[in-house]
Amino acid sequence: MRAEMFRGVPWLALLVLAAVGICAAGGEALLPFEPGELDLGAAFKPPAWISGDWASPLGADNLGRDILSRIMAGSRVSVIVAFYAILFSGGIGAVAGMVAGYFGGWVDTVLMRLIEIQQSVPAIALALILAAALEPGLPTVVLVIVLTYWAWYARIIRGEIMALKGRDYIAFARVAGVGTARIFLRHLLPNIFNTLVVLATLQVGQVILFEASLSFLGLGIQQPDISWGLMLADARQYITNAWWAITMPGIAIMLTCLASNIFGDWLRDRLDPHLRQL
């Protein structure tokens, strides 16, 4: 049974995700260098395998800052953004979807209209107008993602709940006078848990890319916070001088997104095959 459960686990993807997690959790202690530390003498030091040294294996950027340290530090922002964005969008979406799916009627109608409205404002447009109204930065990035993605969760969870509601044991529980809160917690939530996990995993990559896009436009993470998207956006000025400055954070993004997508796909096939269209 155990062996069955772990069959086909994408170990490589899990390894990448674990590495990102450790970098993010480990904080300053793990970093070879202080990520903001300037060393103009070491500007554009190439990666170790070209002509650099193993002190900065991935080389240094235009201000001589160690790229590896910055990538590791940047993982923290990516993880924080992903964590809060997923927590809130998933939480809000799940509750809204459950309520709408369970109660139906006007509650459902209102929610569906809200979802439609939400989905008629493209995420990037929402980000632009929010950035114009509020100050750009990490909280704004999270807010934009939450506002964009809650509807995604809500729509899918609602469908699941509507299917569940028809099942006998839920109907029985209702007839037997089990309290609504209890039905939600004991019967509905466990049943949509798999779906939530799959959606959350698949969202990680999207969040990271979205953060990168916003940072590129100057509407995302603001200095002195370090994020992968910001590193890319900054390093593009030196793309012909120091390809590693723009390539390395890009690869970090790519690996993390690939890993979370592959892991998410695997989870979906394992836990919730009917979500395959996502």
Partner: protein, 306 residues
């Protein structure tokens, strides 16, 4: 069909009104909208005039009515920077953005359909493998990064394709790839799973039993069925393309709405931001409507529904 269309149209209108409320509310979030809407060096007269036209002395709902009243006749105010109606600025740039989004979408579909079909037909074949890696990469890279690398490779190193500009077909190539790569993975998955379903269906088995050549079975009889789930999602993907265009336009110096709005955000040119966001939403809703209508072209069952 007509009733369905009518209902969708009504829903779309509702969404647009909702979107306008969102935009309006956010634009009032930061307290005094004047601070946000006008550049810092705006003359006093402009501030007073804006206060008056926005009705800032009135309650919020009345302000919204004023906003919507102006919006209905296409008056989003004048761009402070460009000294022309914000609406005109946006409308002039809309076609370029739509073209870019459509090209991005075409690229993604042009890749996703063959890869999805081939990987459903020969699971584990080289097309399946290469195609899937290609698709997954697109989903894991920021579009602007892809754009920069493409310029570096195909324009600067190889000099095969132009790095910028808007007009000729070759100028569409790099932006369309940067933009359209991202959704390839999801689209491939949709096509692949739909194809697997269809290829396992009775009517395909019957077709095969009656000696229909495999080529026709896959690319004609199965594909048209498998295209339906992809088609239903095209509206969503088109919207994603519009969003992506905001980023890609900057890289490729594309004369579209995205760049205009992004710059307007930084210049605090709020009429342009409002008009731009509003029109992106309208475009989004309209594209979904169009997609809804187009099901009928492929799926005759929808054509006769209700």
């Amino acid at each position: 069909m007509l009733r369905l269309f009518g209902r969708r149209l009504l829903q779309g209108l509702f969404s647009i009104i909702g979107a306008s409320i969102i935009i309006f509310v956010i634009s009032r979030l930061s307290g005094d909208p004047i601070v946000m809407m006008l550049p810092n060096d705006a003359p006093l007269s402009a501030i007073e005039e804006m206060r008056r036209t926005l009705g800032l002395d009135r309650p919020l709902w009345a302000q919204y009515l004023i906003f919507i009243q102006h919006a209905l006749v296409g008056d989003f105010g004048n761009s402070y920077r460009w000294k022309m109606p914000a609406l005109q600025l946006i409308m002039d740039r809309l076609p370029a953005t739509i073209e870019l989004a459509v090209c991005g979408l075409l690229f993604s579909v042009a890749v996703a359909v063959p890869v999805g079909v081939m990987s459903a037909v020969n699971r584990g074949g080289w097309v399946d493998r290469v195609g899937r890696v290609f698709a997954m990469l697109g989903q894991a890279m920021p579009a602007f990064w892809v754009g920069l690398l493409l310029i570096l490779l195909f324009a600067i190193q190889l000099n095969w394709l132009p790095a910028f500009g808007y007009g000729s077909a070759s100028q569409f190539v790099l932006p369309a790839i940067s933009l359209g790569w991202y959704p390839v993975a999801a689209q491939t998955r949709i096509v692949r799973s739909a194809m697997l379903d269809v290829l396992d269906s009775d009517h395909i088995r019957l077709s095969r039993a009656l000696g229909t050549p495999e080529r026709l079975i896959v690319w004609k009889y199965a594909l048209r069925n498998a295209a339906i789930p992809l088609l239903t999602m095209l509206g969503v993907y088109f919207a994603a393309m519009l969003g992506g265009a905001f980023v890609v336009e900057t890289i490729f110096a594309w004369p579209g709405v995205g760049r205009t709005v992004v710059e307007a955000v930084f210049a605090r040119d709020f009429p342009v931001v409002q008009a731009g966001v509003m029109f992106t939403s309208i475009l989004f809703v309209a594209s979904n409507l169009l997609v809804d209508l187009s099901y009928g072209l492929v799926d005759p069952r929808i054509r006769d529904a209700r």
